[in-house]
């Protein structure tokens, strides 16, 4: 038989050496390298964006944890604070914060004079405007709580206003101050001298975690207190509501449900609910819980109900997966020794599936922790300055905000100082998420079973 004629292709094969790549091969290898480079580029782009995002958030937000603070002795001038001189709380209450502001202003000027700080070019009123608007209110509360302070001299520390604070954090500069009606370059120079004199310093600010929100004009005293409480209430409620309900539903569907149309309907429902946009759950919460059910707007209870409904499909799906992962041998063994099906599930399958269920629950909890859109619709973006009551006195019905909503609310404000606050709030939020994910990972590692 002749070889040449039966060879499927008549193009004579070049006697090419394997050791020398052909021109085509070089082109193909170049294409291969390009293709691989696209893959690396895609990964680098995604990770770089993530890194840039986290970096900007952290560099913007880390300064939210510190605050320019003024410290000076304040003499509680009895003539201003207690004009009637009888220390009667009812009369003391009639002195408004304006009176206290005067006291603080005077005290600060006195301190500057005493320390020989040059205040040239800055009026007394402008010196007074160094002090945050929340300081007089705080001082007033102190006095009302303890009228004996009147006439004494106490060491008082007050936040500097947002602009001064921004100057030490680089947000406000001499150039921007020239264009800013709220601050002047002279004030900034004075701030530098005050810092040198030790009256003013930038220090860690625990109030950022505890203060409630504050108005547009005093970003320096805005804090996350209400948001953190609201978030904790909601998370606790979500766990209490969604874990039993989700696990029960999953057990029924996975272990007991008969194969019929109704079960199919439930399954289709669950998988579709998992893909419904979160904002639609907000609409549901608004229409059903608030308008129809009459539950209070902005309350953590309604927030938790909405988040529970959102978390349930994920929890059900995760629970079913962990139940399915328990091998049939355990089930047959349990049934074989005469356990009923309910006993088999609750005594054997469920305990073995528990780590997986908890991991799934924590992860879906982490997702609901960051949800924002639906909470906006049920009014949680409201400006809330009162702390909700304790959990036993119905605090879940009180207006509250949540961490992600607070981020949104602050980001929407015009003063750039609030962007710093928003980024700071994100850092706190991410810290929460990190903790939850670490717990989930530990659970998974610790209890991971290989059947």
């Amino acid at each position: 038989m002749s070889t040449a004629s039966t060879n499927p292709n008549d193009v004579p094969r070049k006697a090419e050496s394997l050791l020398v790549p052909s021109a085509l091969m070089r082109r193909r290898n170049a294409a291969e390298a390009r293709f691989k480079a696209y893959g690396i580029a895609a990964i680098v782009i995604s990770l770089a964006t993530l890194a840039i995002m986290l970096f900007t958030i952290f560099s913007d937000g880390i300064s939210a944890f510190s605050q320019a603070t003024l410290r000076f002795p304040v003499t509680m001038d009895a003539a201003t604070l207690d004009p009637k001189g009888n220390r009667d709380p009812a009369d003391l209450a009639k002195v408004t914060t304006i009176g206290y502001k005067k006291v603080l202003e005077k005290a600060l000027i006195a301190e500057l004079t005493q320390r020989n700080v040059d205040v040239q070019g800055v009026s007394a009123k402008d010196i007074g405007s160094f002090i945050s608007g929340d300081a007089p209110a705080r001082l007033r509360e102190m006095v009302l709580a303890d009228p004996s302070l009147i006439g004494q001299t106490i060491d008082f520390s007050a936040f500097a206003t947002g602009r001064i604070d921004g100057y030490f954090k680089g947000r406000v500069t001499m150039e921007t101050a020239k264009l800013d009606s709220n601050i002047s370059p002279e004030q900034l120079q004075l701030a530098d001298r005050m810092k040198a004199a030790g009256i003013l310093d930038v220090r860690f600010n625990p109030k950022f975690f505890t203060n409630p929100d504050a108005s547009d004009t005093r970003p320096e005293s805005a804090g996350l207190g209400v948001a953190i409480i609201g978030t904790l209430y909601m998370m606790a409620l979500v766990v209490v509501l969604s874990l039993p309900l989700g696990v029960a539903a999953a057990i029924y569907l996975e272990e007991f449900a008969p194969q019929n149309r109704f079960t199919d309907l439930i399954e289709v429902n669950i998988s579709n609910l998992a893909a419904v946009p979160s904002i639609v759950f907000g609409i549901l919460g608004l229409a059903i819980f608030i308008n129809f059910g009459g539950l209070p707007q902005s309350s953590s209870l309604v927030g938790a109900l909405v988040l529970t409904l959102m978390a349930l499909p994920t929890i059900i799906i995760a629970t079913r997966a962990s139940l399915r992962a328990v091998p049939p041998s355990i089930r047959t063994a349990a049934l074989g020794v005469g356990a009923s099906k309910v006993q088999m599930v609750f005594h054997h399958v469920l305990p073995l599936a528990m780590p997986g269920i908890l991991t799934g629950t924590i992860l879906s909890l982490a997702t609901s922790l960051g949800e924002t859109g639906p909470l906006l619709l049920i009014g949680m973006e409201a400006f809330v300055v009162n702390y909700p009551a304790g959990p036993l006195s119905g605090g879940v019905m009180d207006p509250a905000t949540a961490l992600p909503v607070q981020v949104y609310a602050w980001a929407a404000r015009s003063d750039p100082a609030f962007i710093e606050r928003a980024s700071g709030a994100i850092i706190v939020l991410l810290a929460f998420l990190l903790v939850m994910n670490i717990v989930a990972i530990i659970l998974r590692r610790r209890f991971e079973r290989r059947w």
């Binding site: 038989m1 039966t6 292709n9 193009v11 394997l18 050791l19 790549p21 052909s22 290898n29």
Partner: protein
């Protein structure tokens, strides 16, 4: 089935592939131990041996398919026409165009029959025009004894064929790149007896153009289609020689035990 072996005489004594001191490691597992073998041109060489003896592993060394397994490490020399295919300058992709491979389970691509066969010629740039490609496809399908069955439905999906047809399609796909060596890893193990017979007949025919190396579990199959047989055991090449001699007069007692069914 008549014994084809006696009708054929080995046409050539030219060495196509020479393996020298080949060792293969999978991680710490020493899978192939110091194998020397010469594979002849225009000959069907069968690798036989019990499961896990290393015959498939060794086959996959011959076109460097083991490169795709991250933990595999190959030592020693394998010369294809006096060029070491493990030389760092060698591109395994270019090598595999010369040393084609057919797998245990038919694995046609989820494309049309035509595109399955045209795949190789296209990527290797073997044709300059559609007409040439059509010609290669037809010739390869004819060569794989599949043309008459599929010529009217070349645009149909390759996965819609029967198992035996799929395997012949895979053979057509492999020979469309006009390789010099064709490696077959248990090509009939997933096929029924009739399809097996067709593929075996095809293998015998392919010998006129190619050096064919076939791994098989079935000693009957080795006896039917091959001229040369190599017996592997526990990663060692125990015995290698004319098929007739291996089956009728094995020199090594291990070969004898295997042939007579005592190990395996």
């Amino acid at each position: 089935m008549k014994d084809l072996r006696v009708e054929r005489d080995v046409q050539t004594e030219t060495n196509k592939i020479e393996a020298r001191g080949v060792q293969v490691f999978y991680g710490t597992n020493h899978a192939i131990k110091d194998v020397d073998v010469n594979i002849l041109d225009k000959t069907v060489t069968a690798f036989i041996g019990p499961s896990g003896c290393g015959k498939s592993t060794f086959l996959r060394c011959l076109n460097r398919m083991n490169d795709t397994v991250a933990s595999a490490r190959v030592e020693g020399k394998i010369l294809l026409e006096n060029e070491d295919i493990y030389d760092p300058r060698v591109d395994p992709v270019q090598l595999r165009a010369k040393v084609g491979m057919v797998f245990q389970k038919p694995n046609p691509f989820p494309k049309s029959i035509y595109d399955n066969v045209a795949y190789g010629p296209r990527i290797h740039g073997l044709t300059r025009s559609k007409a040439e490609l059509d010609e290669i496809v037809e010739k390869s399908l004819r060569r794989a004894a599949l043309w008459n069955e599929v010529k009217d439905r070349l645009a149909a999906g390759g996965t819609g064929l029967s198992g035996g047809q799929q395997q012949r399609l895979c053979i057509a796909r492999a020979i469309a790149t006009s390789p010099e060596v064709l490696l077959m890893d248990e090509p009939c193990s997933a096929l029924d007896p009739i399809a097996t017979a067709q593929v075996e007949e095809l293998i015998d025919e392919l010998r006129t153009d190619y050096s064919v190396v076939i791994v098989t579990h079935s000693m009957q199959q080795a006896a039917r289609v091959s001229q040369r047989t190599a017996f592997f055991h526990l990663g060692n090449l125990v015995e290698y020689g004319e098929t007739g001699q291996i089956f009728t007069n094995p020199k090594d007692p291990r070969t004898e035990s295997y042939i007579s069914g005592r190990i395996g």
